[in-house]
Subunit: 608 residues, 2 copies
């Protein structure tokens, strides 16, 4: 039944040979790889306002200079990543770049933050998408968390079915979103220029504001830079581009940067001129759209495409996380199961883990986007800084043609990313401190896992030439609970193997049982040796273990191997299992994990 | 670690021989066996008032005639149970009496309701005890459910340690409670007689009340009869009395009946004269105590002993449930595990199940005593009716000396119990309808379980003389994942058994792997046959199962037995298991349950 449900949800298994690759042209690539970055404008500008409004509505004008700062940061990042594209044409994820240039630990820090970050990508994007929906339909607001979880489950299922990044259908919502926002910004600017918007709505730029501080401005800047999350996506996906891949990727990156800059500036400007004040239950974009168009078709079109692109952005998490997990698992820093392709050829374990963890995050943060974003941004800017620093080291080490200008660009990128990072820690410590605990913990875990795999490899490798001891003979121990067909069955099996000794063991709780059973046994199987053990504490496992230890001590002296034969009857229906004492399972688990004996299970299938 | 915790909580295991029996004298027996019944006066009178107050405060005077009705019912029950005591000196539980006289299904109905009922005993008593505490300390009121759960866990742990019914310490709270209530009633009556209580507090008896109906009065009567729950306890425990057991038990029953009658009448009268109106957060007994003494020592003494006796009453559930479960399990109507004595000689599975289910009930009903009581009362009066009817049938069938008067008494008991039952269904259907669903479900389950055990018995019994087929030879199949010490180990073992054929099976996902591995294998183990299976869908189990099916078909033609040898490496630490694909476990489970093959697990213990 479970497997039928699975088939229904994710479809029939696919053959390994079906694993093809479709190359992306620039238009599609721009759409698919930039949904994460572009969708950030749906919450980035709002984050600036949320900080400024804590002073007063008059402080809102500071959003303009802060936005300019964010645009400068964006330019630096785009230029730096352009260089990474050419330097790592096979995909320059922060993990790879940091590991190669800075060493294993910086690589693990980058990898660890990215792993967490992709989970946050999903949580933030889905939460923000849900916000866009509940802004349009305020009646749904109390169900924010539930709606977000349904979306995550939906995207997880889609990815288990195998949505490839190249599915063209995913491209439409991105262009629709860009189109919708351009209309919004265009109409908005037209309204402002024609003077439809009363100028008393906004405080003129430069008005002195009481209570503003550098700390607060830095904090607003850091918050605003969360609009830049996702710009690294293109540099990770270069192999998916049509040839010449690096050139096409670089062009796509520039196009994305320009779009992002335009949309971001547009939203910030409109919010400023309209005098928008952030509200808990209606997003800033929703307020702008409502003031521009009223609640008509265009309003719902904008909210709809915003929700769509945000949910698509979550999907980029689903493309990136499993691939990073495969890389980490191949390097043996996380469990091997992440390298296994599921029925539909996706890395199902990565997909499922991502879904589960992002649902946990959504529940833990009650779907509140503004609480998730600082963590998300820190998680992005740590690997940003590390990969840029890695590039700096690379240029210094390799000194290719024109390396000085390259060095300057990456140094700038590294510096700005690092500063943004620090700003988060300085100005939003109460929201991001957990990174300082989780990151070392993750690195420690990576380390432990790696050690374990190395140790296992050393022990299993046949190269160690430790010849296994030859087995001179076998002793079979058969625990019996009565005289039944189940026991008969196992006994027959034991007798069919040779050369061997068979010892039947009967554990009894009351002294009177002993003689009775021995008598019965002698009549039934006179040629099989029976040992009876009294168990005053009514445990079967303890006396049995002790007996096996004794036998094993003797057996090992002459290189005999001890096998415990466990008769087990298998009921026809699963629920019948609770009707039977699961002694065989307990005995098996206990002996297998604690003692060095071989366990043979002889099933007896019940017919009804 | 888990087992250390277990030792700490429930103590060292006890030897079976430590199972002794202590006989009870009348004083102790009265205390221990009547806590359930006597504690009912803590909530019984309140239930009457809760129904009457729905009309008006003036209707409260009806509590007096209703209480008289309850006393008549009590008398009938005590007389009936007195006869059961003499007729079933070995313990006349409703299950036994109904089963013997009315047949198996009435017996199962009685047994099923009692099982549920004991769970309700625990839930109701603990909830009511918690109410007594939170009435005294209103600040604790919001934590009602949590406190109740802690009590259940505490009692469960105590019973797992093994509180025997005879522990004398349990006798004190009962007598303290009786003592406290007598003082309360005495002082209350003194106050009334001396005219300290203004008479305008209560409406005179006989005042006409608008809106009163027969339906409502019946409902109040049914509710009040919940004060009689627990009177059956003595008749179930006759073997625990000192000789002459039946006589002593009968005397104890009469004493308990008298005490119950006195306390019940006293509380009802005081509540009436004081004009007590039931409140959600303060119990009626607490209100009476507060009005009589104020919030001084006596008040807290009464609340304390009430809470204590209620929690002791829960303990009677823990004595009765596991014993009934043993009886049902011996008759094979519920899983066999209920017959197993735990480390401390108690029937741990019964105790744990009782604890878990009563916690579920407390949470489901949010610890609201008044919602649990109707279910509880129905659960009590169904077996009451059945066992009395059983006695009626017994008298008619056996016709002993003086059977006519015995017949009349039990007929009366059966009738009244049946009428009370019906009243619950008629007047409180919305609260007790679930009984009509659960009871048939439980009976159905009993039936299915019995059938299964009978079928298993028939298949296992060696008496069927179906000689097992002799095994002519063995085929060993060894799935291998690579060339490692783990495989070498298993191979050595397989080679040590003979006569046999060994087939190593290698499942690969990509066609290129095949030749490479075959080549390696040929160099390593030239004398062991290797079969390679391509798995285009990346499943190991499916191709392996198919291969095994083929081998088995051939093998069974010549009575060969197929054994699958599964190499499994056992990491040193439990958490390491998630670092390895648990293929061996999956393969084993799949083959064992779906195919008729023998599974041998060869462990390879990792040293680090």
């Amino acid at each position: 039944m479970l497997s039928t449900l699975k088939r229904f949800l994710i479809g029939r298994p696919l053959k390994s040979t079906a694993l093809g690759e479709q190359k992306l042209n620039k238009t599609k690539a721009l759409a698919i790889l930039s949904s994460d970055a572009l969708s950030s404008v749906a919450y980035g500008p709002e984050q600036i306002l949320v900080v400024l409004i804590t002073v007063s509505a008059a402080a809102i004008w500071y959003s303009i200079p802060i936005a300019i700062g964010v645009l400068i940061l964006l330019t630096a990042l785009i230029l730096s990543y352009r260089q990474i594209i050419f330097a790592y044409p096979h995909g320059g994820g922060a993990y790879v770049v940091s590991k190669e240039n800075l060493g294993i630990y910086p690589g693990l820090i980058a990898g660890g933050s990215l792993l967490v970050d992709y989970i946050l990508t999903v949580a933030v994007s889905v939460s923000a998408g849900t916000d866009a929906i509940t802004s349009a339909f305020p009646g749904l607001h109390p169900y924010n968390v539930a709606i977000a979880i349904v979306f995550v489950l939906f995207i997880t299922t889609l990815n288990l079915r195998g949505v490839t990044e190249s599915a063209s259908i995913l491209a439409y919502p991105v262009y629709l979103f860009v189109f919708a926002l351009f209309i919004l910004i265009g109409v908005g600017i037209y309204n402002i220029v024609t003077g439809d918007i009363p100028s008393e709505l906004h405080t003129p730029i430069g008005t002195p504001v009481a209570g503003i501080s550098l700390f607060l401005l830095l904090r607003a800047f850091a918050s605003g830079s969360s609009a830049l999350t996702g710009v690294e996506a293109i540099s990770n996906a270069i192999p998916n581009f049509k040839a010449p891949a690096p050139n096409n990727a670089a062009k796509t990156l520039l196009a994305m940067g320009s779009l992002l800059a335009l949309l971001f500036s547009g939203i910030v400007c409109l919010a400023y001129y309209y005098g928008i004040v952030p509200r808990a239950d209606v997003t800033v974009v929703s307020q702008i759209a409502e003031q521009t168009f009223g609640r008509n078709f265009m309003y719902f079109f904008i909210q709809g495409t915003t929700a769509l692109i945000l949910i698509l952005a979550a999907n980029t998490g689903y493309s990136a996380f499993p691939l990073l997990a495969v890389n980490l698992a191949k390097d043996r820093f996380i469990p091997r199961m992440f390298t296994i392709r599921g029925d539909r050829l996706g890395y199902s374990n990565g997909i499922i883990n991502l879904g589960v963890f992002s649902i946990i995050l959504i529940i833990a943060f009650k779907g509140k986007t503004e609480h998730l974003i600082p963590l998300y941004a820190v998680g992005v800017f740590i690997p940003f800084s590390l990969s840029q620093t890695g590039m700096v080291v690379k240029w210094i080490r390799e000194k290719p043609n024109g390396w000085v200008s390259k060095l300057i660009i990456n140094t700038l990128g590294a510096l700005i990313s690092f500063i943004v990072c620090m700003m988060f820690f300085l100005t939003k410590f109460s929201q991001v401190w957990s990174v300082l605990i989780f990151l070392p913990l993750i690195i420690f875990l990576f380390h432990r896992i790696k050690n374990h795999y190395t140790a296992v490899g050393n022990q299993l490798g046949i190269t160690t030439c430790e010849a296994a001891l030859p087995i001179e003979g076998n002793v079979m121990i058969l625990p019996v609970a009565g005289i039944t067909h189940v026991v008969e069955n196992s006994l027959n099996y034991a007798k069919s193997l040779s050369p061997f000794q068979i010892i039947a063991v009967y554990v009894h709780f009351e002294r009177e049982d002993e003689a009775v059973f021995e008598e019965k046994w002698r009549k039934w199987q006179p040629d099989v040796r029976l040992v009876t053990l009294l168990s005053p504490y009514r445990s079967i496992i303890n006396p049995l273990s002790k007996f096996i230890d004794t036998v094993q001590r003797k057996a090992s002296e002459s290189n005999y191997q001890v096998t415990v034969i466990i008769p087990q009857f298998i009921p026809k229906k699963g629920w019948h299992n609770i009707l039977h004492n699961q002694s065989s399972l307990l005995i098996r688990a206990h002996l297998l994990y604690r003692r060095n004996v071989i366990i043979t299970t002889v099933p007896f299938h019940l017919r009804e």
